[in-house]
Symmetry: C2
Subunit: 391 residues, 2 copies
Amino acid sequence: MTWIDDDAFGPQHPFGPQTLAYGLVDEGLAVRVGNQALPLAELNLGERLEPLVKAENLNPLLAAGRIAWSELRARLTEIVTASGAPAGARLVSLSTAKLPFAVGDYVDYYSSRNHAENVGRMFRPDAAPLLPNWTHLPVGYHGRSGTVVGSGTPVVRPKGQRKAPDAAEPSYGPSTRLDIEAEIGFVCGGPVTSEVRTRNAAEHIFGVAVVNDWSARDIQAWEYVPLGPYLGKSFATSIGKWITPLDAFSAARVPVPEQPNTLLDYLVSEEPSGLDIRLEVQWNGTIVARPPFAEMNWSFDQQLAHMTVNGATVRPGDLFASGTVSGKNKEERGSFLELSWGGKEPIELADGSTRTFLEDGDTIVITGWAPGPDGSVVGLSEVTGTIRPAA
Amino acid sequence: MTWIDDDAFGPQHPFGPQTLAYGLVDEGLAVRVGNQALPLAELNLGERLEPLVKAENLNPLLAAGRIAWSELRARLTEIVTASGAPAGARLVSLSTAKLPFAVGDYVDYYSSRNHAENVGRMFRPDAAPLLPNWTHLPVGYHGRSGTVVGSGTPVVRPKGQRKAPDAAEPSYGPSTRLDIEAEIGFVCGGPVTSEVRTRNAAEHIFGVAVVNDWSARDIQAWEYVPLGPYLGKSFATSIGKWITPLDAFSAARVPVPEQPNTLLDYLVSEEPSGLDIRLEVQWNGTIVARPPFAEMNWSFDQQLAHMTVNGATVRPGDLFASGTVSGKNKEERGSFLELSWGGKEPIELADGSTRTFLEDGDTIVITGWAPGPDGSVVGLSEVTGTIRPAA
């Protein structure tokens, strides 16, 4: 037993001492211990770390780099596992948590082959489902960083322009095909000003979070050629408010499934860099999917190496997400577009109602966890959002 | 004559009192007067404006909104046209100017029909050059805001993955088709948290700048389906270091060319919102193109209305660019892809050498100006960049 008085704090709990996710509450930067938060500002952390944890958000810590991250995690592990409460320690509510970092650039990948093939079949029914570049590089694009919001932020149904394939002209109105994308996001340190090798990628990745990349499929389908998704995605992207350090996933590393072709050297992953994160999607309380992140075909080290191969710099707070996580099986698909097969196969919820896409008032909760050391469980902070009617 | 001792300061000069572009020099925020800079921090501007101009960059002024922008411009007009030097006024060098604002999100549009058709003919030779959505909405996508750099920053030739149409496999190496895109960018105030109507768009646009959206065509052509350009663009985007206020373009407003179809209401432009800006592209000192911004088919008010129609918010410092400006005539095209027709028609420079795409050591200068009130000329700050060899 440690000094922390929380039934949910122990190795069998997702936010036990093996996790130590970082967040921001009214009392400042904090680490999550079970269902409470331990603010960092008053702890005795030494003169190098203390200015970092007294900052207004995680960005100075992100900029401090991996040595500081490791030092802080080691010190916090000592503190939370001590039998007596250290000086300055007090536990506070999680309820005031907010998005804990300023997002730099936000890149969204497309790294599930199952997802890419499913979307290809629906959006481009007359062509091969997978485009020729997909197995050679992690396809991705920039999203809107200014509309990345913390879990719990309501999502207003977007309005916009769309055109059904059989319509003569486009029309304007609230999206009728509002969807989710269950993803995993990576929060970067930096600045990184030179090309990142896959073997060094973990040096620049601070932590991991669940992401819901809300998507208006009707808007997206009409707008996306030739420059990619824009308004179909830019209204909101939700992220878990506690960032689980990459270090917490040491027992969750798995090999990335091999591509069917030889990869260019800069994309070869030199160690198991897949992560065995299990996601669960709840729609108004009904579990509708369990997407397996371990099946993703491009991993964070390949994505970061690709992002920087052209000389692009990375800033502390840059976020990149994996793309929709979809497994081989139907009940493992991370979007409603796939689960309902373009709206043709309704999904039944526990209350007997059926859904294809999101209705006003619907609430989505996406949770995630991974195996931790010694049989423990490493938690990811849930992402929730409720749909509000169009403005 | 005013107190400003600069031969280049007068209504016939592009940076005369009719322009008053804002920038950031070692002495702080400043306004450009001819070939010198007038720092703002020591001027008597009143208690509301003084904190804004003493900030570390333009963002607090961007956040202050149009009333403050108009008040500051009026007061500076008085100051620079006075016969005697006001208290606190001193002129300093332009040479220390740097990018004067922190870029929020960067969106790049694709609003020249001439350009879109030219690119369509080259990238998709077997299809109609213009995709069906193009005349119904301003096609755009998010670029990388972290690699927007001020004019003069050298551009390192990007490396990456590309595959020639006739190659069996993709290859890795420095881009062999490095290009420019001559564009106009708009710098936003904000935050804007509700949908912007076209008639109110000017309330949220602070100023205008020349942009060079450097593009690696070989990387772009292989990567861009289905999610749009990514590494082909993300290595660098250059912008002029002095932001010309939108207010300076009152005499340059021209109607936007009509689309061939009826527009949805939210995209109807209610006043002439095209801008008669003339661009000039110099390649190692040879003028190779004079792209006419007045021919653009989507205007800033339509672009901002579109950007926010889905509920996306705008932050102070958000930047959106027009897309390549290309006129009907060959010598008006704003990219080398178009000028050399995909590399098939070399361009001859004044020294007798020829070019298709950029070579290491090449320097590009893009300048711009517009008609001002009473026969004056309103200047845009030039964008220059020299290509350095791949790392």
